[in-house]
């Protein structure tokens, strides 16, 4: 089609919508935002006549590459260290994708501009594409990679493991609560516009460096749809900004969405990229460097800041603090260490770090070795069962952390932990913004204003509660993370597939019961609780116990 006919075609399809004369479409979702009905341009300018063949062509390239990879024996060159983390990543990501599809109708009635609905419907189809193309990639890995365990139990693992629950925020956050908070601010303005760059561009680069060129093929193809979604979000945001009564809510939602995305996405993707790679070239970018470029410069400086003049209140303090957590407070390192500490609760294997890794970390994050080196040496020493317990039950100068009630990542930057009684329960939070999210933002009033449509944080948010005082062998069996001999664990703290070197349920039987930190906290007297808090904030880095005072 010529450019002129694209414009005309697009103009024509605007004639499709009509004002209801007899019955309004059902209104299933609410928002506390207000939108004025005004003629708008569809930001997408996409008609299905050209959309379908374009996507089919992209698909053909993806599936062609997959055939080629198998014919070319790609898996002979794939790093297991990398592939193991894909068991976690690819268990999570199909749900966020499909949830984005499900989120689109939240905007139909709440943003009363039919010009935008065409773009939202196309996004819905895109997201069905993303979810199933990613499931398909995982299936290919399961069929062709040496160790299918964890891929084969993928969606069960995702549903019943704490790591999957952390990831689920990046999905359930799109589809519940205030429709605009969820489907516009959290999903399109923050998750898609800011964080898909690290997900879908940084991750594939690292995959390729580890011998896997299928992840890049699939995820670049996914990312090429993303710019359309970003335009959808931008158009809605500008409309929201045009009504001043929305500014307070926009400020709230941007704070919440920014901080939650940082907590969740930087924890996961940061770990995959820094600890899941074998590529230790000194000139390859660290996650911190990528973050600075894509999120800080491209998103914050180039996308968000220019919106300030339209009245958008930008959470500068939280963006700076996210960077501070990544660069000075070791956020990604603390998370990776926690994942490795808790390897027994996982459904993937975690490779120990070697001297070459240490050198790279020290080069990229000066001071890393003093903080984390000794712990990873212990991890290495304890990785093959030899009469000792898993590292979580051995004395390696590590205090098992409490979980953040909001983002559900543990409170790893110990000095930032906030403890408070909220909704009649003592809760811990990784940071003040997470405390604020639960106590202030997700409530039916906000700064004296009624916010009856705001969502709620629900669920059994501390995973450890479910297994309070269980033996870990029973926990792992309950979750189903056992291999087909009925005894060997799916997870392992090393990559050696020699059955004699693999951990089994029997090894776990010898461990003491595992108490829930939150249940324990709530059983304490007031004095004990205050002593706990005072001690906790003096712990770390790297989970070290507080120094004797």
């Amino acid at each position: 089609m010529s450019r002129q006919s694209v414009a005309k075609a697009h103009q024509k399809i605007q004639e499709l919508s009509w004002e209801p004369a007899y019955h309004e479409p059902v209104s299933h979702y609410g928002t506390d935002y207000t939108f004025r009905k005004a003629k708008k341009k569809d930001p997408l300018k996409q008609v299905l006549r050209s959309y379908f063949p374009m996507e089919e062509e992209k698909d053909n390239r993806v599936y062609g590459a997959q055939d080629g990879a198998i014919r070319g024996n790609m898996f002979r060159q794939v790093q297991q260290r990398w592939m193991e983390w894909q068991k976690l990543f690819l268990s999570i990501i199909p749900l966020p994708e499909i949830s984005a599809a499900r989120a689109m109708p939240l905007l139909f009635r709440t943003v009363p501009n039919p010009e935008l609905h065409n773009g939202q419907a196309i996004q819905m189809i895109d997201e069905v594409r993303h979810s199933t193309i990613q499931q398909n990639l995982k299936r290919l890995y399961m069929n062709n990679y040496i160790d299918p365990a964890g891929f084969n139990s993928s969606l069960r693992g995702f549903q019943n493991d704490y790591a999957g629950t952390i990831g689920r925020q990046f999905a359930e956050g799109f589809i519940t609560g205030d429709a605009i908070t969820a489907a516009s601010i959290y999903l399109t303005i923050v998750a898609e516009t800011a964080f898909t760059n690290t997900l879908f561009v940084a991750m594939p680069g690292e995959a390729a460096a580890n011998g896997d060129y299928l992840l890049p093929t699939v995820f670049h193809s996914v990312q090429s749809d993303e710019s359309r979604h970003i335009s959808n979000g931008y158009a809605t945001l500008l409309m929201a900004l045009s009504d001043e009564s929305n500014h307070q809510l926009l400020a709230r939602d941007l704070r919440y969405a920014w901080w939650n995305n940082h907590c969740v996405v930087d924890a996961a993707i940061g770990t995959f990229i820094e600890y899941g790679t074998k590529d230790r070239r000194k000139d390859r970018e660290s996650y911190a460097e990528m973050w600075r470029r894509w999120i800080y410069d491209d998103y914050y400086r180039s996308y968000l800041v220019p919106l300030e003049k339209y009245g958008l209140e930008i959470p500068h303090d939280l963006i700076e603090e996210s960077w501070n957590r990544i660069w000075n407070k070791g956020y990604v390192h603390e998370v990776a260490q926690f994942f490795a500490t808790g390897w027994i609760a996982n459904y993937w294997r975690i490779d120990p770090m070697t001297d070459e890794d240490f050198e790279w970390f020290e080069h990229k994050y000066p001071g890393w070795y003093d903080k984390y080196g000794a712990w990873w040496e212990n991890y290495n020493r304890l990785s093959v069962p030899n009469g000792h317990k898993p590292i979580a039950f051995e004395d390696v100068d590590y205090v098992y952390p409490h979980r953040c009630w909001t983002c559900m990542v543990p409170c790893l930057i110990r000095e930032d932990m906030v403890m408070d009684e909220v909704d009649g329960q003592w809760r811990t939070y990784c940071s003040e913004p997470c405390h604020w999210t639960d106590k202030v933002a997700f409530r039916p009033t906000y700064q004296g204003r009624q916010t009856p449509n705001m969502g709620k944080l629900i669920g059994s948010r501390e995973w450890e509660t479910l297994y309070h005082n269980w033996n870990f062998a029973d926990i792992v069996k309950d979750m189903g993370f056992v291999r087909d001999d009925g005894n060997t664990l799916t997870a392992q703290p090393h990559l050696d597939l020699d059955p004699k070197k693999m951990w089994t349920l029997e090894h776990l039987r010898r461990c003491p019961p595992f108490p829930s930190p939150n249940v324990t906290l709530n059983e304490m007297t007031e004095a004990e609780r205050e002593a706990f808090r005072a001690d906790y904030v003096r712990q770390g880095p790297a989970g070290r116990p507080a120094p004797a005072s």
């Binding site: 299933h28 419907a121 398909n136 139990s153 549903q159 519940t176 669920g459 087909d484």
Partner: protein, 389 residues
């Protein structure tokens, strides 16, 4: 002399990490093991859709973590009045030391639904691309051979007004009913099938709109805006419009889908498309419009209807709620049949508009009724007596 600087690129390494390289527990376990398939072998479609949307009744041990203002999250089963076996058992309660296990998979009957069309991304793009390619070729060929000049004068007006009016039905139902329903169903298989149904309708709407644009360019007497006027004020279309709007206003997602695909489509959609446009076009010199309308007929009859029957048939024979569901479906038939039948009759004036007349309206309506009767009987439901009044 040249100096070559070593480029910094990752070094490939031989890792031998391919399937079968070693034997160890699970080394042969290459099957998604968290669901059981409908047939003996797990299908590719099942592998990419089943369980993507979690459920606290089986594996989702920590429950939904975000809720609406009323504290409910995820995909509540009571978003429809229909019920599937097992759903009345209380949701597993997780508390200190409870463990994470819920009911054994699937925990309730909703998870047994499979889309017989096995739609996922590859099929969506393959099928839809084939349709748009085919239609574009047909229209191009017609333009080049000046086929539009063969049309009877009244037929030009008929296509502009009435075929054009149908695009609004497709658009409204595609967006506000089917796309809306993709957030409402209880499983990923339901919602993905509903999203696909939505893409069919939205594509059909756009097909008709862009065809209308081409005709405005090709035929001098063609009024490209007549469809808007027909839709908003032609009395023959106001009934269709009212019932289409009423369908989109339906709160219960299953009722909306049931009423659209099993009542409205056979009695109104197929009546208009198959029994009017397809029959009248050739005699009026038009061999192109039937290819567009035929593409939509095919999507409906061969895919969406097939899928909808597979969605509702198990409800009627549900091992726990067959009676309950039959009563509900029967009551939906009872409320939607008279509306749709009445609307079908309001379309009658259209039959007299083309120069070359199509078969009689009553014959077309009879065919639509027997089509409807066959669908209802296949689901073991009773045909309401109003059908023949």
């Amino acid at each position: 002399m040249t100096t070559t600087q070593e480029r910094s690129v990752p070094k490939p390494a031989f890792t031998d990490a391919e399937a079968g390289a070693r034997t160890f527990p699970d080394s042969e376990a290459r099957r998604f093991n968290y669901f059981s398939s409908a047939k003996r072998k797990q299908s590719h479609y099942e592998d990419v859709t089943v369980e993507v949307q979690p459920d606290p009744r089986h594996y989702l041990s920590q429950g939904w973590i975000y809720g609406f203002a009323d504290g409910r999250g995820g995909y509540p089963l009571d978003w429809t009045a229909l019920k599937a076996w097992g759903q009345d058992r209380p949701e597993p309660v997780r508390s200190p030391g409870s463990g994470g296990a819920g009911y054994e998979w699937p925990a309730h009957g909703w998870h047994e639904f499979r889309d017989p069309n096995e739609e996922w991304e590859q099929t969506i793009y393959r099928n839809s691309s084939n349709v748009v390619r085919q239609l574009n070729q047909n229209i191009d060929a017609a333009r080049q051979s000046k086929a539009f000049e063969q049309w009877n004068p009244n037929w030009v007006d008929f296509v502009a007004r009435h075929v054009g009016a149908w695009m609004h039905v497709d658009h409204g139902l595609g967006l506000y009913l089917f796309a809306n329903a993709n957030r409402r169903g209880p499983t990923n298989m339901h919602n993905t099938a509903l999203a696909v149904n939505s893409t069919h309708r939205i594509r059909s709407a756009q097909d008709l709109a862009l065809y209308n644009l081409t005709l405005s360019e090709e035929i001098d007497a063609f009024d490209g805006g007549a469809h808007v006027q027909a839709w908003s004020s032609d009395p023959a279309w106001q009934g269709v419009r009212e019932v289409a709007e009423q369908l989109t206003s339906t709160w219960d997602w299953a009722e909306a889908v049931f009423a659209t695909n099993l009542v409205f489509e056979p009695l109104v959609g197929e009546l208009f498309r198959s029994n009017l446009v397809q029959q009248a076009a050739p005699a009026n010199g038009d061999f192109i419009t039937p290819t567009l309308i035929g593409a939509e007929e095919y999507d409906y009859a061969e895919r969406d209807l097939r899928c909808t029957k597979a969605m509702f048939a198990p409800m009627v024979s549900d091992r726990e709620f067959a009676e309950h569901n039959t009563g509900i479906l029967q009551s939906w038939l009872q409320s939607w049949l008279p509306r749709c039948l009445e609307v079908a009759r309001t379309l009658q004036p259209l039959w007299s508009q083309p120069d070359a007349k199509p078969p009689r309206f009553e014959d077309g309506l009879d065919r639509a009724k027997s089509r409807f009767t066959a669908i209802v009987s296949e689901l073991s439901l009773r045909v309401p007596k109003e059908l023949n009044q």
